[in-house]
Point group: C2
């Protein structure tokens, strides 16, 4: 870790800046994939799947038999754990379901706002070394609570054309039965444009590698909604003299094992505690299967000592971390001062992995500083809010002259006239 | 208007498609402006303002004296109308302020979600022929209710370097005092990157011409949040045998006067009523100052007769209109079936212009079919929702094994370990 002591505010911009993950080189490659799928649909998808995943599934769509197989053979303890987590995620997200908001703004002028589910959503779940079934729960459960009509899931097949059983189990648990064996930019393209097999969706969710996230960004510029912009995962841990070094080290490492571009930041008011935590990190690192990956990420990470809590909190909010773990005695107080973060973990017994899996909060969160303007995935992500207004004759008599005056001042005569013809009819 | 009678469903995709507003040619021009401002800040802004607006304001920032001048000299009736509208907008948006949502998902596992204002927002208000002071109210009032710390406004100066008084008045009414005389893509660049004079913002709101909307799209791909993707304005009017043709015609024209690319759609179950409305439209059109513009838009517009209400409602939702005006006897019932639209106007005395100015709903709405996945501007637009979790020792004893099982199945050993070290400490 790179240690900074009381960095001056001039230095903060540099310390909060994220690594430049310029993906410009891959834009033409991804554009090429998007265009192929747009032009040749399923044929292009199959060709690209063979090329990138080394498999030609006999059918792009996962069969009922494959899903039932997952139900039968997935380890029982894992099944139970998933049910436990799903129940917490469901409880927390159900409470977020927006209510109709209604008021009479002027007598006779009724206005309301109603949240309506997005019709068709597409969830992308990466394949690769780790089967991210937890992300299935995080995306599919709120989609089901929102009552989205169609929820489809794309995930790449392995070399034998199969999908990981835990992913199939999680999907089934959340009521998703439309699962496609497609990965990469070709999956994003298929969901964005639609093919004979894969329906065009209204919004695309989910994490992925650079090809996937670039594809999401490109289709987003074409008007397909996406959950949020992407970037490497991050954790900020705040420690003081009371923090058990063992806990802080474990939390730093749980972020570091995600990949070499993971951002790991440790803030403290005590230089000594930072040394203890770094030392403990080294010891725990040695035991990890992913230690090579985690070590690279740690080498790039930052530990910063602040002379007072006020500066520390200012820096914390300026950084806008995806995950913020508060392990100091003032954790609860600091939590009330958080203005920019994805998700906050308060106190010594609240590791980030609780939120990654099972506390009930969502783990799809804004990273790369996007927490300054973006929320993590929540019920709003699966709905759109429509406004309604209904005006009585009496209401228009009251409100009409106001509209006429304003429309005229904006030189929009027809806007004014839409009121005038009605007022004339009412008054005649 | 182009009339279609009972179009087959195969034809619907074509009828709901929007004109292709490919702005690809202007992307390099806009990129050039963005890069200039990024590199040369205020100097570039001033140079571009002279070039595009024909003015060099002595100061980019509007002075207190200019604002006070607007307060003194703006027409009194317009002032009162703005206050009336502002009060309705404030009432409807205040009710949308999200509450903290809190629950104990598992004993000892407390989760909550809190909405926090976005720190710094930038509002863009176009200049040009019509001073869109109503958009100032629509963006600045929710920003103030959200308690965004910094709200800045950019709008282009006229050839004398001045800003329209109604815009200044509306800004002051909403508590905005940081107003800059900058328009076009250079204003979007200044707010996206910041200059010595203009602060970098977290999110950019507001309508604009192709340069402005292209600039917003380009900075959005660079990670600056924007309100929503842009497209030409639209209205869909639904009429039956009871609809006063005069009202429907006035509503169609109030959309058509926005510009030649405005989308105007009339749906009905009665061919005769469509003929009446078209006839009435011609008569009202002759009286309008913007009749040339409105006529071009009407020439491209659609009138469609459906044989039953079910098909009509299906088409309505598939089109996902920005503005939906229900002028039929079943208006209230149809309103309950709306699943895709920006804002809905119910009944004969509810013209679109009511929502454009003063009913209380927001007039910044998703167009171009984006209503399938996007909401209009509302309180959520000015806030981000942060999640929190706090777990007790007892809570972690309950939840910990679930997390360990799931983390292990995802091959994320360090995630598991962050729980294991804590459980070990609790149990020792």
């Amino acid at each position: 870790m790179n240690i900074y002591i009381n960095p001056s505010k001039e230095k903060w911009a540099e310390l909060t800046s994220r690594p430049n993950i310029s993906s410009n080189e891959i834009v033409p490659l991804v554009n090429n994939i998007l265009n192929k799928v747009k032009a040749n649909g399923d044929d292009a998808v199959k060709e690209l799947t063979l090329k990138f995943d080394g498999a030609i599934p006999s059918s792009l769509k996962v069969s009922d038999a494959e899903i039932n197989d997952a139900l039968l053979y997935l380890d029982n303890k894992l099944q139970q754990a998933m049910h436990f987590a799903a129940s917490n995620i469901e409880r927390f997200h159900s409470l977020q379901l927006p209510q109709v908001i209604r008021t009479e703004t002027t007598p006779g002028v009724e206005c309301w706002q109603k949240a309506v589910p997005i019709n068709t959503v597409g969830l992308y779940i990466p394949g690769g070394t780790a089967p991210l079934f937890s992300t299935v729960l995080m995306l599919a459960i709120p989609a089901r609570i929102a009552q989205c009509k169609n929820v489809i899931l794309c995930t790449p097949p392995d070399k034998n054309g199969n999908i990981n059983k835990a992913i199939l189990y999680a999907a089934k648990l959340c009521g998703i039965t439309e699962i496609y064996k497609i990965g990469g930019a070709q999956a994003i393209a298929a969901m964005a444009y639609g093919t004979v097999t894969i329906p065009k969706v209204d919004k695309i969710f989910g994490p992925g590698n650079q090809y996937v996230t670039t594809a999401k960004q490109l289709v987003s510029a074409q008007g397909i909604a996406i959950d949020m912009p992407a970037g490497p995962s991050e954790v900020m841990v705040i420690a003081d003299e009371t923090t058990p070094a063992e806990f802080a080290a474990a939390d730093l490492l749980s972020q570091a094992e995600h990949g070499e571009d993971s951002q790991v930041i440790l803030l403290s008011n005590k230089r000594g505690k930072i040394d203890d935590i770094i030392e403990e990190t080294k010891q725990q690192l040695a035991q990890l299967p992913r230690k090579e990956l985690a070590k690279k990420s740690l080498d790039n990470s930052l530990a910063i000592v602040f002379e007072n809590e006020k500066s520390l909190v200012q820096f914390m909010n300026l950084y806008a971390p995806e995950h913020l773990i508060l392990l100091s005695k003032n954790a609860e107080d600091i939590a009330t001062q958080v203005t920019q973060a994805g998700s906050v973990f308060i106190g010594n017994y609240t590791p980030e992995s609780a939120g990654d899996y099972a506390s009930g909060t969502n783990h799809t969160l804004p990273t790369n500083g996007f927490a300054s303007a973006y929320s993590g995935v929540n019920m709003d992500s699966f709905m759109k809010k429509i406004t309604f207004q209904q005006i009585s004759a009496k209401g228009l008599q009251e409100l009409g002259p106001v509209i006429e005056t304003m429309a005229e001042a904006e030189l929009l005569q027809a806007h004014k006239n839409a009121v005038s013809v009605r007022l004339k009819a009412i008054n005649s």
